[in-house]
């Protein structure tokens, strides 16, 4: 029920936005381009997330090995890392393309 509600809302507002914005000279090819751009932004964010996670794990393990002090790897288990990585992807991909 929750899934159906969420999907219905997103499909509904997307259809509304398409109807409102579509006629102003923006064809389906522009929409496909926008979807491709958006997924590429997500991909760049995912790449940063993987890089941040792997580097974070290595840093924690290196810190443990070199100092003998303990830091939990669970410090990386925070949703803020994903959100910031997606923002990194957005910023750097925009930068590359302009």
């Amino acid at each position: 029920m929750v899934s159906l509600t969420i999907i219905s809302l997103v499909v509904g507002t997307s259809a509304l936005a398409y109807l409102l914005l579509g006629p102003a000279g923006r064809g389906n090819s522009r929409l496909r381009f926008a979807i491709a751009q958006a997924t590429a932004f997500v991909g760049a964010g995912v790449l940063f997330f993987v890089a941040n996670t792997v580097l974070g794990l290595l840093a924690v393990l290196a810190f443990r090995a070199s100092t003998g002090q303990f830091i939990s790897v669970y410090v990386l288990n925070d949703v803020s890392l994903l959100l910031l990585s997606l923002f990194q992807g957005l910023v750097f991909r925009t930068w590359w393309n302009h």
């Binding site: 899934s3 997924t39 590429a40 991909g43 760049a44 964010g45 790449l47 939990s72």
Partner: protein, 210 residues
């Protein structure tokens, strides 16, 4: 320009795969299916001790975090059902100096479990250290079998660690393996939990801990 184009293609492919995977994880029960395959089945039967592994720790107000509270309550229930005469509560000290095992112990005593039936483990910082320290505590007591209270995805790794220490483990997970997660947000949380546990399990395998 060609390098930029190649990067665009890579980002686009990863992005499309990620969005597809996210939609599948949110709107289908695939995370539950993976969880069922990866986790061990519960085996609730009489044992020499109940071991409740550390979890989300203690909140600023001194109460237990949700996961810690849930595990503790299951430990109390197993004890009350007469499945073991001893309950071991694990949980270290947080940055505020609060000790999870001590908070758990107070709750267990308040629930009517006698203090003599409780042991605590406060020094361990990882699941591997919990297994080593608790096994060392239990060995002089002649404990051979344990009911291990842990979250469902963690059953495989935690059980293997205790079995390596010579204990026979009966998993007592905090979730029903046949239950189905329904809300998309909860499915994403389960997928994230599984990703973390699979990473930890892989690391333990690579490091030779399992």
């Amino acid at each position: 320009v060609s390098a930029r184009r190649a990067l665009d293609v890579v980002c686009g492919a990863i992005g499309a795969a990620s969005v597809t995977a996210g939609l599948v994880l949110m709107f289908t029960p695939v995370a539950d299916a993976i969880n069922r395959q990866f986790a061990l089945r519960p085996r609730i039967e009489p044992a020499d001790a109940i071991v409740v592994l550390g979890a989300s720790g203690v909140r600023a107000d001194g109460s237990l975090g949700n996961d810690s509270l849930r595990r503790t309550m299951i430990g109390i229930d197993l004890y009350r059902r007469g499945l073991a005469p001893l309950i071991v509560l694990s949980g270290g000290t947080n940055e505020r100096g609060q000790v999870e095992a001590d908070v758990r112990s107070r709750l267990v005593v308040a629930s009517g479990v006698p203090e003599r039936a409780i042991a605590t483990e406060t020094a361990a910082r990882t699941t591997r250290e919990e297994a080593a320290n608790i096994a060392a505590t239990l060995a002089p007591k002649g404990v051979r079998t344990i009911l291990l209270v842990v979250d469902l995805p963690g059953t495989r790794r935690a059980s293997a660690l205790f079995e390596r220490r010579g204990l026979r483990v009966f998993p007592a997970p905090t979730e029903d393996p046949d239950g189905e997660t329904l809300a998309p947000e909860h499915r994403l949380q389960l997928a994230r939990h599984l990703a973390v546990e699979l990473t930890a399990w892989s690391y333990y395998r690579l490091a030779g801990h399992l």
